[in-house]
């Protein structure tokens, strides 16, 4: 009578254990490693990225993450360098900046806020040549806000477009 315990198959459990199991474990380990490496390289966001648009009368620089995650707090910084006189510097933010986002702070406060074709228009009054306007906005992402959204930014003098930055905001779950 064999002394091998019941339900033990020596071929399978001693001599040649299932290789698929170990292969699957290693594959899953590699998958987790790949996620961690991708995160370190910035694939899942948080790191701010600069986008610049320059025109004759002004330069617009937007520094903000283009990839964020649900619940994340982040800052967007908008810098306007006036190269010529601007009567009413107005930043127009696409809906993606506001959709399912908590806006915690806007500093400095705009002199006027309005909706322009559904986008948010923030007016800051006149800028002389050489003036610099720096606007800070602090956001928090709603956890249910997932997907891609347009996060374009336009710099206007009243209704006249001076410079425009095209951006996309990706929100990971």
């Amino acid at each position: 009578m064999s002394d091998v315990p019941d339900h033990l198959d020596l071929a399978r459990h001693r001599d040649d254990p299932e290789t698929a199991e170990i292969v699957a474990r290693r594959a899953l380990f590699l998958l987790l490693t790949a996620f961690a490496v991708a995160a370190i390289l910035g694939a899942f966001g948080q790191r701010p990225q600069n986008s610049v648009a320059a025109a004759d009368r002004a330069e617009l620089d937007v520094s903000a993450p283009s990839r964020v995650r649900g619940g994340l707090l982040f800052q967007a910084r908008f810098t306007v360098e006036a190269r010529g006189a601007i009567e009413n510097a107005t930043l127009v933010l696409a809906r993606g900046w506001m959709e399912s986002m908590q806006i915690n702070t806007i500093e400095p406060s705009p002199t006027e806020e309005a909706s322009r074709d559904g986008d948010l228009a923030l007016s800051f009054g006149p800028l002389a040549a050489g003036d610099r306007l720096v606007l800070y906005m602090q956001f928090q992402v709603d956890p249910t806000n997932v997907g891609h959204r347009s996060a374009d930014v336009g710099l206007y003098d009243g209704a006249e477009l001076l410079a425009r930055v095209d951006r996309t905001l990706t929100v990971f779950p």
């Binding site: 002394d3 091998v4 315990p5 339900h7 033990l8 020596l10 399978r12 459990h13 001693r14 254990p17 299932e18 698929a20 199991e21 170990i22 699957a24 474990r25 899953l28 380990f29 998958l31 987790l32 649900g70 619940g71 956890p143 249910t144 779950p173």
Partner: protein, 145 residues
């Protein structure tokens, strides 16, 4: 709906993590493993419920986890071929007093660990062991000669 989807993916993630970590780490529960599991649990909870503090959220997330646990258990019970995917097979570590190095390496175990487990079961030497088997739940069963 989101919370159910998040709970589903969190469940898959837990399955992956437990398979990657290996049965020994999960069963031995050394202080480090214990803390790691608690931290993982906290991270998973945050990912699933996020800022939802409602009782409904608890019902949805807890219900989804329970449902998936029963579903996986039933699947493993009904489909034999799926068993190695969800739970590890027994592995013979000692045969007639001799350690099978290849199988120990496979589970990242050392002969000292096997000897320590034997001592915990009042077996002073592996020479007196006919079979030592690493079971699916990560514990080692010893069958004396």
């Amino acid at each position: 709906m989101d919370i159910v989807v998040r709970a589903f993916f969190a469940f898959l993630f837990v399955l992956i993590v437990t398979r990657v970590m290996g049965r020994r780490e999960l069963s031995s529960l050394e202080p480090f493993d214990l803390i790691l599991l608690i931290v993982l649990g906290d991270l998973i909870q945050q990912g699933v419920t996020q800022s939802d503090y409602s009782f409904t959220g608890l019902l949805l997330a807890g219900g989804t986890f329970t449902l998936l646990t029963v579903a996986v258990s039933y699947l493993v019970f009904r489909v034999r071929r799926l068993r190695p995917v969800f739970e590890a097979e027994p592995l013979v570590l000692v045969d007639d007093g001799k350690i099978i190095d290849r199988n120990l390496r496979r589970e990242r175990m050392t002969p000292e660990e096997v000897a320590a487990e034997a001592r915990l079961q009042q077996i002073p030497s592996l020479d007196g062991v006919r079979w030592a088997v690493l079971e699916s739940n990560g514990r080692i069963s010893f069958i004396p000669r």
